[in-house]
């Protein structure tokens, strides 16, 4: 036996996280179903006038994507904390920066990516013009990566709390807000025909910044949580 290289270890962790998700198809299906049902709630609650809905479709879709990301990110580290795997991860000789990225990556793949792939269906249900759908998918693809990065910071800081409850939402919703603003602005822009590129570029820049910094905050948060 020999210690695996860091990248190899990351791949292994990613595979482990994905396997865990696939073992419970419910886990993967849930964010999507949540998305679907909340999309259905809006016409019921707001009244189904189709033109109004179309106006608001970019905002509504983005708000729901944000909520469904929020709800799943709470669980990223929790089961590992509860069964002791997290202690083992922190004691491992591997660089925590990279391993944390593997967790974030897995989370993004099973929530953000899937959501971005499936969102055109919902967009049609809410009468979003077809021309804006590509922008919607692209903005969700980039934006959910940012949401996952930020969400994991909140998850790392609250994973050790006996009953953290919804504390995570308090911590990270304020951080989510810029993503929501730029994301929905991009889609709204696409609806009226103005270029969405600048907004997407801003989100992209924020993703880069977050990839550089968020793992540091997450690693620190995990160490604190395990210590407490």
């Amino acid at each position: 036996m020999s210690a695996p290289g860091s990248l190899q270890f990351c791949r292994r962790l990613l595979r482990r996280q994905l396997t865990l998700a696939v073992r419970r198809p419910v886990e993967i299906g849930n964010p999507l179903l949540f998305f679907t049902m909340v999309v259905a709630l809006f016409p019921l609650g707001l009244g189904p006038a189709p033109d109004k809905l179309a106006d608001f479709a970019p905002g509504i879709l983005w708000i729901i994507a944000l909520l469904s990301n929020l709800l799943t990110s709470d669980a990223v580290f929790r089961s590992d904390f509860e069964d002791g795997s997290l202690e083992q991860l922190l004691l491992s000789p591997q660089p925590l920066y990279l391993t944390v990225l593997a967790y974030i990556g897995a989370h993004w793949l099973i929530t953000g990516l899937l959501l971005a792939l499936i969102c055109p269906v919902f967009a049609l249900m809410l009468n979003l013009p077809a021309s804006a759908i590509a922008t919607l998918a692209l903005s969700l693809l980039l934006g959910t990566a940012l949401l996952s990065l930020l969400g994991c910071i909140g998850a790392a800081l609250t994973v050790g709390l006996k009953r953290g409850g919804m504390l995570i939402s308090l911590l990270i919703l304020p951080l989510y807000m810029p993503v929501l603003i730029f994301g929905s602005a991009a889609v709204k822009g696409a609806v009226v025909g103005s270029p969405a590129g600048p907004y997407l570029a801003i989100i992209g820049a924020m993703v880069c910044l977050a990839i550089a910094l968020a793992p540091l905050a997450i690693a620190a948060g995990l160490r604190i949580s395990v210590d407490a």
Binding site: M1, S2, A3, P4, Q8, F9, R12, L13, R15, R16, T19, L20, R23, R24, S79, D80, E82, D83, G84, S85, L86, E87, Q88, L89, L90, L91, S92, P93, Q94, T99, R223, V226, D227
Partner: protein
């Protein structure tokens, strides 16, 4: 403190003191762990064994005084088994979060056989009994190459024959130049000089 000299210690604790919940658990504890030592931490419930072990391996980093030096890699098994319920024992070992080694499939099978999980390699771990669940974690003792093992109640929930197999494995490890620091409420039955470190706090009765 260098790793090269054969006789260098595997772990050095220097004047450790800890107070929790207003009770002083230990004060000015200094010791070295060297190759070939089998050390049992003793003390009643609440004496501070787990707290000391978490300081030794580096999971507790604040709230105590003193320093710990860890020149050698450590294998730590704690109260929590670190076994994922949704993965089979085989996957648990192959993808273990400690990222310590890359084990071949046969190595993993052998280790599982040693802890009596032959035939359970591919059952999801949540369908194992309490003792079998902990045994998955103990299989790491047959795989690891770390010289220093720090074990917090490794015998919990293990049946008698399991305990004697484990004792044999610990003996094997220390006699091959490793070292073991462990806690247990059961007396160890081994033919070896057992060093004891007694913590006197906790429940008095």
């Amino acid at each position: 403190m260098t790793d090269t000299a054969h006789s260098s210690p595997l772990l050095v604790a220097d004047s450790l003191s800890l107070t929790r919940g207003g009770r002083e658990l230990f004060r000015d504890l200094s010791f070295e762990i060297n190759a070939g030592q089998l050390v049992q931490l003793e003390g009643s419930n609440g004496a501070g064994k787990t707290s000391l072990i978490r300081i030794l391996v580096g999971l507790s980093r604040y709230g105590f005084d003193g320093t710990v030096t860890r020149p050698a890699p450590i294998l730590y098994l704690g109260h929590l088994p670190g076994v994922k319920a949704m993965l089979s024992p085989r996957e648990n070992l192959a993808w273990h979060a400690s990222g310590e080694g890359t084990y071949s499939d046969t190595a993993i099978e052998q280790a599982l056989q040693q802890v009596g999980l032959y035939g359970y390699e591919d059952v999801p771990s949540h369908a194992l009994s309490a003792g079998q669940h902990r045994r998955v974690n103990l299989a790491r003792l047959y795989l690891s190459s770390c010289p220093l093992w720090v074990l917090d109640e490794p015998f919990a929930a293990i049946d008698k024959s399991g305990v004697s197999a484990l004792e044999a494995q610990l003996l094997q490890h220390v006699s091959c130049g490793g070292a073991v620091v462990m806690t247990s409420h059961q007396a160890l039955q081994v033919d070896y000089t057992l060093e004891k470190l007694r913590l006197d706090g906790g429940i008095v009765s």
